[in-house]
Structures are given as structure tokens and as C-alpha cells.
Amino acid sequence: MKIIVAIKQVPERDARIRIDSGNKWIDLEDVEFSMNESDAYALEEALQLKEAHGGEVIVVSAGPERAGKTIREALAKGADRAIHLQSSDETELAAYDALGVARLLAASIQDEKADLVLTGLQSDDLGLGQTGVILAELLGLPHASLILKIEVAGNGLKVLRELEDGWFQHIELATPAVLTIQSGNTKLRYATLMGIKKAKTKEVRVIAVADLVASDPSLKPTAPSVVLDQVKLPHKQRSTQLLGGSPAEAAAALVEKLQFEVRVI
């Protein structure tokens, strides 16, 4: 099975976040980057499928040169080769909305004719949750989102999809297909030292965004349908709420809050 995994490099979870002077994005100086969490789970699913059924895992990532670090991390974990859709700077891709980025990704992986394309559910930075789904549409493939588990069944796949409130859905679908993967259902592997050593020798095909656009003018950024107007840090506040009533009532109220407001249980 040939599997393509789309991964995105995002600021590390506990990075020092500062808003840049234009209030449009964060200041990237001194920020450490890592692989988007749900993309890491997508990669893990792909590697497990390859181990069980053979085939090839190819990662694709759109981003500036720094994204190469995340790509090599994926190679160190076991991906066979990579496609780096490289932007010339930090701003080139910002001119695209989710549709535009998905178009670029689709153009860069079209010729691979993969059996399965996996993406994370959404990115930890923008959190739009659209790229994978749009990609499916552009590639003309069926898709399913919020996938926790993939099994090969006959000529197709059996997948487990997470719904709300603890409900799950079992879906069978034919390949080729696109799946967007939910985090947390499996354990992520560590890159072995041998994998890290070998990663250097694996193929990373770099495609410049500009070259791709030059070859197909329809990929030029159009007026984006969604514009990021302003980013700001969440306002920190502390408030204490006393739950009244009998201990039993207070406990019930607490459970409800934990379940539906804070969503930790």
C-alpha cells in the first residue's frame, strides 16, 4: 500500500508565544517547532499499516526551509521518502487559505497515485481542520474525518470514527481514500538512533512553491475566502465559583461542569 501522510510543522506546544508587531501572527523568532500532533498520529497509523501490510510511506509537508527538520523527523521514525513543498520565506504560504494550500498539496502529490492519503485532523496553530477534507475533494477521492483506527478489510478499509459524546462510527470505504486522523488512539513511536542515522540518506524531493505555481498558474493565490484579521493572546483570568447545596448536589453540579464546561471527564 502506498500511503502519503501530510504533515505540518507548527510552533511547539509550550513555545513562548508573542504576537508580532502587525497583530496578524506570532513572532517566530526564538520559537521552537515540532510536528503537528494529529499529523504525528497520522504518521504512526501509516507506519503501522506499512509494517502490517507492506508498502511505502511518503510524507509531504508545505512550509519554509525549517519544515525540513520535521520532515527528517518523520523519516527518522520510518517514512521512506518525502516531498517538501518549500516556500521561499515565512510569508509566501500565508497568502493562501486552506483551499489554496490544499491545491498546492494536491498538485505536489497527484502523480504519486497513492492508495491512501492521511492528514491530521487539524493543525495546532490555525486549527481550521479543512486541509485534509478539501484535499480529498481536489483529488477526487472519498474521505472520512476524525479517524481513530484504520484496518485493512478486503480491498478496502474499515475505519473507526469518533463522534461526539462518546459515540463512535464504524465505516467501510474503498481505497484510494483520504482520512483525517484524530490524536490519541495509539502510542507514538520514538525515532530510533538507527532511524535517525538512516534518515539522512532518504530522499527528500524539494518542490519550490514558486516553481509549482509557474507550472500551473491556476495555483496562484487568489483572493482568500478567509482572512486572518487579528491574533491576540487569551486573556488570563481567575474566577472561583462556589457550588452550593448539599454535598450530593454540589458533587452533581461539579461533575456536570467537569463534563460539559471544562470537558476533562
Binding site: E73, Y190, L193, M194, I196, K197
Partner: protein, 594 residues
Amino acid sequence: MTVEAGVSVAKRVVGGSFLLEDLTPDDVFTPEDLSEEQRQVASTATSFAEEKILAQAEAIEEKDFAVTRELMRELGELGLLGVDVPEEYGGLAMDKITSAIVADNLSVSGGFSVTLGAHCTIGTMPLVWYGTHEQKAKYLPKLASGEWIAAYALSESSAGSDAMNIRTRAKLSEDGKHYVLNGEKMWISNAGFADLFTVFAKIDGEQFSAFLIERGTPGLSVGAEEHKLGIRGSSTCPLVLEDCRVPVENLLGTAGKGHHIAFNILNVGRYKLAAGTLGGMRFAFRNGVRYAKERVAFGKPIATFGLIQEKIADSAAAIYATESAVYRVVGAIDAALADLNHDSATYAQDVQKRIEEFAVECSILKVLGSEALERVADHALQIHGGYGYVEEYPAERSYRDSRINRIFEGTNEINRLIATGFMIKRAVAGTLPLMPAIKKVMDEVMAGPGERVSYDGPMAAERALLASAKKLALFTSGAASQRFGNDLGEQQEVMGALADILIETLTMESCILRAEKQRKANAPGVKLAKYYAMRAFRVIETAAERVLGAVAEGDMLRTQMTIFRRLAKHEPANAVILGREIAAAMVEAGRYRI
């Protein structure tokens, strides 16, 4: 054997030359220079430490060795036990920086780190360096995979620092097929579950030699676990050898040359121990900072109080300084190894010789790391107040676990004597041009006050302190040599004080070079380097005074103190404000972050 090409970014400096050479930031390796591959190794090690080792911290602490062995096997699978092992024997043969990164980032449990260090360094390296092809083929793949655990048995009840004084005896059997060993060993890390022991004994009571002894060999028995102050998760037992018959092919290295093994392994053991203290420091620090953020007293988190901030700043600076020194020295070792021919028949000896050149630095790192860890663990405990003194909080364990580091791999007393002693030996032998340098400083100071050199950049004041520190080091060494001549080695207190000057000079310089290498006046490292430099200079001043007081009296002492005061003259920076700023950044991050 292959080593990664192009990993060395440091200048090839001569071991021990730090008092003589003025390096530029580009000459040294810093943690910021880690290659992408080295960062990936760090990431694997960090994740494993957080998710696997810490998750089992309680089981480890309770000596559930099945858990320890399982973790070791997993580490073996990931390749983390084979960094220093040649590829043909199941290892990865990576550079020494990578090896330090692994020791550094895996250290979140003192007990487990001892298991790991005993296995990877003193347990495995003798075999890597001295084993025959047959010995290596038989044992190294099992050690690199974690299937087997190694231990190193040198110390005895009456031979610790004076290791050559061991009483364990070996005698060749009449048929010439075995060595028969008799004796006892003490304080053997991993003994409770190790599969392979490197045991030192004297053949016929004279030839100091090493033997590879498998667990289960008749005549080898392992005694009961010691009840220790700290590192309780590690196994420490005595060994008893009673007519233990070891096949002759298990003699490691040459009969009578076992001291080469013992001493050369220790250099590696020392820099790796220092690397390991880094992980321990970051762990203790993180716990202290988090507590300081959460604990409210007088209506405010205690992290807002100056005396708590001072502990946080002092700890952060200690971590920064130890990182700077460890990675600088190990980077210099990698640079020194870079041009060796891996296919040469003498490769293993060549590697040891090059590392031995840095014996002074290795001893310095050992003392620095162990004492910095103890200070950071002590601060973390103090921040916790009463809660630091009880087992429910991790500060207590960090504090207990830290203490052993001043004892093993050569006590800090021995390592101080080595640092100063080796330096003097090289000066006398002329392998390091220290004598001309001392003479130059003496001439200069005797000529009276000269013009002070001024420095530029964000570290200008610290550069001036460093220049003074180097002069003070040479001046006090010169004064001590003049007074005691060849007997200086017997004056342990003076040797110790001189070692303090060496330690702090090297460390301060490493901080300054690292901060300068970041090339940004507002880089977080700049503040930490400044903070540490102030502390280092205070230690140097105190030590220099101690030396001068011991070597001169009357007019001579007055003259020397005048020179001392001239050399040490500086205006103190505002450590209070700087400390608050450092603490604020660490408190915001909730951990050590630069």
C-alpha cells in the same frame, strides 16, 4: 567503524590549554550548535525519560528490577545503549556529543541513571576499547541491545580512591585454561542483576588485570543490596570471588596492564557523569519552580519573593554553566577525535590517548556537575520548605540522589587533586607552556599597575573578569610552586584551592563564549552567563586568598595581596536585579528554558 562526518564544529584545542588560549566563540561547541541529528537523539531520549522512566519512578525506587531491565531493553531497542559501541558489534558508533546528550536527557531518576551509566560507560567501554574480536562479538551485541546488563567491579572495602591497592588475586590454573580469582568487591553498581562483570584482580598478587566474568560463573556470588541514602532505585552489592574459575580467554586486555583500563575508562565516566547531572538538575529545578509558582504565602506565590528568586536564578545559572562547560569539553574531545583513522589497528588506543589529553577537563566537569547538581537540588528542597523534607514531593529524592555524585567516579577530593596535579605535571614536563605564562604574569604584576585592557560587547565586563581569573590562576599557581616546589602535591588544601580556580575559570569562560556565540545582546543566555560569572569570580577570589595566605607571610604576603587586589579589582554588577529577571523568565516557563 564510522563516525558521523562533519559533526565536529569546535576548534582542535590542546587538552588543558584553557588557561593559555584565548578562544573565540566560534572555537567552541555549545548546546546551541547541536546538529539536527543530535537534536533528534535528544528528543528521543527526553521523550523516553518523561514518558517511560518518570512513569515508572516509583517502581524503580522500590528496586523492582524487572521494570529496570525492561526499560533497559527498550533503550537498547531504540539504540540508546549503543551510542559508543562499534556498528559491527550491534552499536551505532556515534560521536561523543551524542553520547553525552543521551546521558543528559535520560537523567530524570538518579537511581536509573546510575544503572544506565554503570552499564553504558564503565560496564561497556572497557570491552569496546580492550576486548578481542571474539570477546566483543560475544558480549557487545547483548550489551548494546540491553539483553545483558554490565557491571564494573574495581572498588574493595579497603581500596577505593587508592584503586591500585586491591587485594583480589588471580592465579593461572595448572592446566593454563583458567584464572582462579579470590577476593571481594564492594559498591558494585548493577551487581544485583548484571550479567557480565568487569572484575579487577592482581595476577599472582602483582599484575593488575581485568577479567570478564559472566553471572553464574561458579565461585562468583553477589551479596545483599546495600541500604543507601539515595539512588535507591539502583542496585549496589558486594561481590565475593571464591575460587572463581574464569576462562583465560576472558582476560580483558593485557595481563598487568589493567590500570590503563581503569584510568582511561574513568575519564569518560567523568564527563558522562557531568552530562548526567544536567538532566538531574533540570528535573529538580522544574519541581522547585513549579512549587514556587503554586505555593502561596502572605497572599502571594512564593516565586514573587526575592530570596526565592535568588535560588531560582542561582540554580538556572548553575545549569547553564554546567551545560556550557560539558558541551564545550565534549565538543573539544570530538574535535580531537575527528582526524583519527577508524580502520587503524591502534584506533582504540588513539581514542583513549586523545581523551586522556583532556583528563584535567574531565575531572573539572565531574566536580562541577556533581556540586552544581547538589546546589540545585538543595535549592529545590529549600523552596519546598517542610514539603521538601518529606517523601511525597520529588525534591526529597533529588536531594538524596544527588549526594553520591561527589563520591563515585573518583571523589571530588581526588578529582580536584587530579585537575591541579595534571596541570602541574604538564607544566613541569613542558607539554603545556604554563611556565612561560606564569613567568609572564609574574613579571607583569611585579612591574606594577599596568593599563587595563578594555573589552567590547554585551559580555565586556565578564571578559575583563575572565582575563583577571586567568591571571589569578597563573599568579597563584606560580606563588604556590615557588613556595612548595616539588612538595606542592602534598599540600592538598592548596591543590584543592587551585583546582577551584581552574574549575571556575574554565566554566566562566565556557559561559561567556556560549553567550557571545548567540550573537544577540538580549539572548537569554547572556543574563545567565553574567550571573554565573559573578559567582565564579567570588569563588576564585576566595580560593586565591586561601592559596596566598598559605604560601606567604609578612612583607611577602602584603606584596602578594596588593597584587591580588589589583588583579581582582572590579565593580560588582547588580546581581539582585539580574537574578530577579532570570527568575521571572524561568517562572514564566515553569522550567529551565533559555
